[in-house]
């Protein structure tokens, strides 16, 4: 029977884009089904209401929600719909996915991240596993992402620098904010190695995209110049140009049908007019971001897959990962600085491309000897004005602040200091208490069971987060920051999510094989962050892009 397309990809973010581009370039017919609308540079503005207050790029929680299961004091796990709690777990449901809204901090994993179990051993209560591939397998694709997506940076020698097949980044770093000199100086005094953070942002026009306009509003905003390396700007636009790739926006996939051999036979979806449609392909790729990918596969039951596609050994949705760590802030008070320095710190636009990797691997008695650590990134407080002002609405006693007092606080918050923040990224250990299942009662507007997410964390994550935060605090103190505060918690950041379909060599302990194909389905691949058995201690996007390019090569050879 002839199929409608060679490849049908569900989801157009960082996991879907590389497969779409590579296969379209190879002359294969590609269909992308994307749940959200197709917004372009012409629709993205520096409009805080659109980006960050009204949740325009994500579903309304009354239409589509999650159920979040948290542990209570009596040790029971209880779920609450996000429609009730307002705790939004969506990220960028538009063409290009959440890569449209990233800040573009880009990091490779390191060699030891691929064999965390072998290198650091078991941790009680954690399901740590080595990856079925090595860094060397992924390195060519990390390099490919640098040129295909466009990563700016500079290679600096340091003790944990990953092996590279190319000498340096294809683009020099974006323009840097004057505060980096203060960070560098403080780090030097402390004996820390301050490094330039690579970013998926073009400093100059290239590949049909404009260079960065340095508006100063980057993370959470869709890019209006095309400089940010979203899947849409960097990959999908090029895939469309081949004439072989079609994107269907506002298409909500509800199920993958499978045949008596257990292979996928069709995709069922609702189109923008809510008409139920079906489409077929030779190969199917799921890349809906970790939580929704697990949900879709769990919903896709069939004769050979009674518990969902790829779930014959009850592994689907398990070992979900977020990013552990913490964050902190210190205020650089203008009145303590000379006028020129104060004016420099007020500058808006250039990037704070600075991070620390000195404790990516720790060897410290305090941590029981050798341990996996993580990274610290520095950034300015987000310039969003409404959210900054809203933070003043309630006082410490939970009373509303208004009148002259509100105005005085506004004036001070906006004018007295530049706030330097840090973010710590460390491994979110996979455990039995962090997974996706289908909720038995709560459904979305199409009548499908929503994803229920249990968000348990491992205490070890907090220990590492605290260790790294203490190092970051030293930098803020050395810089002379005031009112320094920080927090480390096990609360999951919804925008840094992976796992749920871990890849491995044994069908009994993994969902995908080393090629990211579902073990017992011949024509189904998963190319978002779901494949990761452990997450490393960096943002996931570069690794997702790289792995998707790797899987694209594998699919290309089979078609």
């Amino acid at each position: 029977m002839s199929q409608d397309y060679d490849v049908c990809i569900i989801g157009s973010g960082a996991g879907g884009g590389p497969v779409a581009l590579e296969l379209a370039k190879a002359g294969k017919s590609v269909l992308i089904l994307e749940k959200g609308p197709w917004l372009t540079e012409k629709d993205y503005f520096k409009d805080e209401l659109a980006c960050c207050v009204r949740s325009v790029y994500t579903p309304q929680l009354k239409d589509e929600k999650h159920v979040i299961e948290e542990q209570y004091q009596d040790n029971s796990w209880q779920g609450e719909s996000t429609e009730e709690s307002g705790w939004d777990f969506w990220n960028g449901n538009v063409v290009g996915g959440s890569s449209n809204f990233m800040s573009g901090f880009f990091y490779r994993l390191k060699e030891k991240d691929f064999r965390l179990l072998s290198e650091f051993g078991k941790i009680e209560g954690a399901n740590i596993a080595d990856w079925p591939i090595s860094y060397a397998d992924l390195e060519p694709y990390y390099a490919k992402v640098e040129t295909e997506v466009g990563i700016s940076g500079r290679v600096q020698q340091h003790q944990y620098l990953e092996p590279r097949s190319t000498k340096d980044f294809p683009y020099s770093p974006t323009i840097e904010h004057p505060i980096v000199h203060r960070i560098d100086k403080a780090c030097e005094q402390l004996g820390f190695t301050s490094l330039t953070t690579p970013r998926a942002i073009l400093p100059k026009a290239d590949m049909g995209r404009n260079g960065c306009e340095y508006s100063g509003f980057c993370g959470s905003y869709g890019c209006s110049s095309g400089a940010k390396g979203s899947s849409r700007a960097a990959l999908l636009n090029r895939a469309i140009k081949t004439g072989n790739c079609k994107i269907l926006p506002n298409a909500k996939v509800v199920k993958l049908e499978s045949n008596h051999q257990g292979n996928v036979s069709a995709v069922k979806y609702f189109d923008e007019n809510n008409n139920k449609k079906s489409v077929t392909a030779k190969t199917y790729v799921v890349a809906c971001q970790a939580i929704e990918t697990s949900r879709l596969l769990l919903s896709s039951t069939g004769a050979k897959h009674p518990n969902g596609l790829g779930n014959n050994y009850n592994q689907l949705g398990k070992n979900l990962l977020f990013s552990a760590g913490g964050s902190g802030t210190g205020e650089m008070t203008y009145s303590k600085l000379d006028k020129v320095s104060a004016e420099q710190l007020k500058i808006r636009g250039p990037f704070v491309n600075r991070g620390l990797q000195d404790w990516y691997f720790i060897n410290d008695k305090k941590m029981g000897g050798k341990a996996k650590g993580g990274i610290i990134d520095f950034l300015l407080r987000h310039p969003n004005a409404i959210s900054k002002a809203m933070s003043l609405k309630w006082d410490d006693n939970n009373k509303l602040v208004w009148g002259k007092e509100l105005k005085r606080q506004l004036k001070s918050t906006f004018n007295d200091s530049q706030d330097l923040r840090f973010e710590v990224f460390n491994d979110w250990l996979p455990t039995d208490n962090c997974f996706v299942s289908l909720d038995e009662k709560v459904k979305d507007k199409w009548g499908s069971p929503v994803a229920k997410i249990r968000i348990g964390y491992h205490e070890h994550d907090l220990k590492v987060g605290e260790y790294l935060s203490q190092k970051a605090l030293k930098v803020l103190k050395k810089m002379g920051a005031d009112n320094i505060r920080y927090s480390v918690s096990g609360s999951p950041p919804a925008n840094l999510v992976a796992g749920g379909c871990r890849f491995g060599n044994d069908i009994k302990t993994s969902v995908l094989d080393a090629n990211c194909k579902v073990h017992d389905v011949d024509n189904l691949y998963v190319t978002d962050g779901s494949f990761m058995p452990t997450g490393g201690s960096v943002p996931y996007t570069w690794t997702i892009y790289a792995n998707s390019f790797r899987v694209a090569d594998i699919i290309k050879k089979r078609l």
Partner: protein, 198 residues
């Protein structure tokens, strides 16, 4: 004060181009017909309740000072009126805004035999703090403050922050490009409801 308010209204009549509003000619009507908030021509309701009271509350929550703008200067009322008509606002939110005026004036009459507008600044503060003491009252005031802050700092395309007055006051450098009137957030993607976080 009242005269100023009325002249502001006249000013608005010229300024505001939106065709519809959710009017209420009296509080009694509000309570009996909450479920049937009809759409009227804006100019016919601009001088009526609940907007007169809301404008007064807004000015109390965000008073003009010698060198800083107040609620009227940032077009807080126009912003509120415009935004609660946007297609993504839940009807319950509109109802809450109207209901709060009823609670406030009931309390005001009960305690002072006057409407809120007629109170002194000190009595206004006291009564608003009392309103805040109830859960619903706190929600109402929080919602008004949310809209006030948005009127102060959102892009002028949305009816508040005229000529960036709020940004200028706080020395906030806005990003670019800024949205034009055809690209307001509710025109991107499909119209839908949202629940504002208060």
């Amino acid at each position: 004060m009242v005269d100023q308010l009325f002249s502001r209204r006249d000013f608005m009549r010229v300024l505001v181009t939106a065709a519809a509003a959710y009017p209420l000619s009296s509080l009694a009507e509000l309570r009996s017909k909450e479920e049937s908030l009809a759409v009227y021509n804006r100019s016919s309701v601009i001088n009526k309740e609940p907007w007169l009271t809301i404008a007064e509350v807004q000015e109390h929550l965000f008073p003009a000072e010698k060198n800083s703008p107040g609620a009227k200067d940032i077009h807080a009322l126009e912003y509120l009126q415009t935004m609660i008509q946007s297609p993504d606002v839940e009807p319950t939110e509109r109802k809450l805004i109207h209901d709060g005026v009823g609670w406030l004036n009931d309390l005001s009459k009960q305690q002072h035999l006057k409407t809120f507008i007629e109170l002194t600044a000190g009595d206004k503060e006291k009564i608003l703090r009392r309103v805040e003491g109830s859960k619903a009252g706190s929600r109402w005031l929080s919602l008004l403050l949310t809209y006030l802050i948005e009127a102060l700092l959102s892009d002028p395309v949305y009816a508040g922050n005229p000529n960036g007055i709020g940004w200028k006051w706080l020395n906030h450098q806005s990003g670019f490009p800024r949205p034009d009137k055809n690209k307001k957030y509710f025109k991107l993607g499909k119209p839908r409801f949202r629940t504002i976080k208060v």
